[in-house]
Symmetry: C2
Subunit: 334 residues, 2 copies
């Protein structure tokens, strides 16, 4: 008999199809293949003049917008939002609109075209996290920007249009709907329990173990109870913090290890799947929140999401998280 499980944060119900559980080998494999560029790559060394000027770079040598960097952040050449102008909120008949003010940046994670976050060195992954933090701290000075999305599309099936390893940042003048829903749900839980729902999840999953993938000094990696997708994986810091950008050096060092190790487990178990990850963090202009707790959600792209799942927010997951957790634990790799 399948089970209906409720996500304790958003209240979303998910069907966990326990009867016809799908194992890693049941998913059609379309591994993300890395290979040297066969055509012009704007993110490789020597092509710095072909991108908008960098807003941040970590470099071994060379000057701004020259080769010699180890990580580079640039505005997206085709941004979905622009930083100049006024928000100009206004009506449009019965509707509401505003100008598309915001920032859209690309974090070029390494000069190595064929690297991935699981194959590059731990220090390099840590630098990506430092770049995330630095860009958030800079952009939040602009008080028009209420939310900053940090995310990665890995592989064409996950929406990546360029192969060279990169993540993205989108800074918005509004709070996205799902973010607000998560904040509101966490507030409802806090009002009832006077505890943070994520802190409770960390405690319970660490003790129970069935959905635990890894635990380190500072983080737990779990398959969530009401996972929407097979092998959906969350990385949650043990210390309560609502904002990712509050993380210090020991946090980011440990997170680099945890993120890389988790992606390596997924790569090994699912044969280098396409995936998305998204940093869930509190709105940048708001003070520390007792009810919200930043974390990272990783979604491997193994199944086609049917239209009714989009339309309803009601997901059918053919792989119980207890089983995917076991596969990932057995993958080893620390």
């Amino acid at each position: 008999m399948p089970e209906l499980r409720k996500d304790p944060i958003t209240g979303r119900w998910v069907i966990i199809a326990t009867d016809r559980a799908r194992r890693p080998s049941d998913f059609s494999r379309e591994p993300v293949i890395t290979a040297p560029p066969t055509r012009f790559c704007p993110f490789c060394f020597g092509n710095e003049q072909k991108t908008p000027p960098e807003v941040l770079a970590y470099r071994v040598n060379g000057g701004a917008n020259q080769s010699g960097w180890s990580l580079r952040v640039i505005p997206n050449k085709f941004p979905v939002l622009g930083i100049e102008g006024d928000l100009n909120r206004q009506g449009d008949g019965m509707f509401d609109k505003m100008a598309g003010i915001g920032a859209h940046e690309v974090i070029i994670e390494t000069p190595e075209h064929t690297a991935t976050l699981s194959t590059m060195g731990e220090k390099q992954v840590e630098d990506v996290l430092w770049a995330f933090r630095e860009r958030v701290l800079d952009l939040k000075k602009d008080h028009r920007l209420l939310y900053i999305l940090l995310f990665k599309n890995h592989g064409e099936h996950a929406g990546a249009t360029l192969e060279h390893p990169h993540s993205q940042l989108i800074a918005l003048p509004v709070i996205p709907k799902r973010v607000k829903e998560e904040l509101d749900g966490a507030q409802v839980y806090y009002n009832f329990k006077e505890r943070c729902v994520f802190c409770d999840i960390v405690r319970q999953e660490s003790q129970a173990g069935a959905r635990l993938v890894t635990e380190t000094e500072r983080f737990v990696v779990i398959e969530p109870y009401a996972a929407r997708f097979p092998f959906e994986t969350w990385i949650i810091p043990k210390r309560h913090d609502s904002h990712f950008d509050e993380s210090g050096a020991p946090d980011l060092q440990n997170l680099a290890w945890v993120l890389r190790s988790t992606l390596r487990k997924l790569d090994k178990t699912l044969e280098r799947p396409a995936y998305n990850f998204l940093v869930h963090t509190a709105p940048v202009q708001e003070a520390a929140m007792r009810h919200y707790h930043w974390h990272i959600e990783i979604m491997p792209r193994l199944t086609k999401v049917a239209g009714f799942e989009w339309g309803t927010g009601f997901y059918i997951n053919p792989t119980p998280p207890e089983e995917s957790a076991q596969f990932l634990r057995e993958a080893g790799l620390g």
Copy 2:
């Protein structure tokens, strides 16, 4: 400058990327090809014994579970929910679960393997709508079932696993999250305006015309103001009704024409795209609602949905709805 537009029902903000608007020819075309079955098809004539026994059929001749039907509704052979047993709501540590009670049915729309809703006759499309209504009226007698999803995945890219034309029904013991959000949003609008938001949309879009695709005696077809996807298309009845199953014969006759004509326009403009549609209707156990208005949402699958869009509910649409509406109007076909 791109525009941020707000959906007046859910409050969801969408980026409409007006600067780099994408035309129909800009999307990678993977037309849904129809062809006679190359292997066993459980939905074709003669294979009635290979499916679970029918729960409804319209037939020209033959007895139950024999050939001679023109439309057939069967329980899904691999249901995601089962109809037998108790809900058995219970805690699981800090989490909540219940048994996967519900119904999962398949509406086999026609015996013709290569037909589609745009190529079959209008009467046949009408019969599909009658079957939707009949199954809802039957299933709502089971008071455990709070919501009934009626939807179609057309083409492999939209999640269809069998080619033979069919739609699906999932009856649930919970109200899906996005449905609740739509109901709540419509209630907030009603509280403020004392008018139904959908009635307002029908009036405004019919008068303004920029996002109008077709208008008939009983329906308007529009590209919504804050469309999440290129060529997202809504069919809204002009008469206020919260429940789809309240529709009578003149409604369903007119809807059959409108649905078929809309799918034909999409087929012509986008070269037979994969698509999903979903009937948005009020929870079956609830009385008529003044603030909610049933409708159909059609989502052609033209772009890959990036992970951050799932994770945030924040969509980037590269085709302004005013442009897609114009393309669809120019497609003609009534």
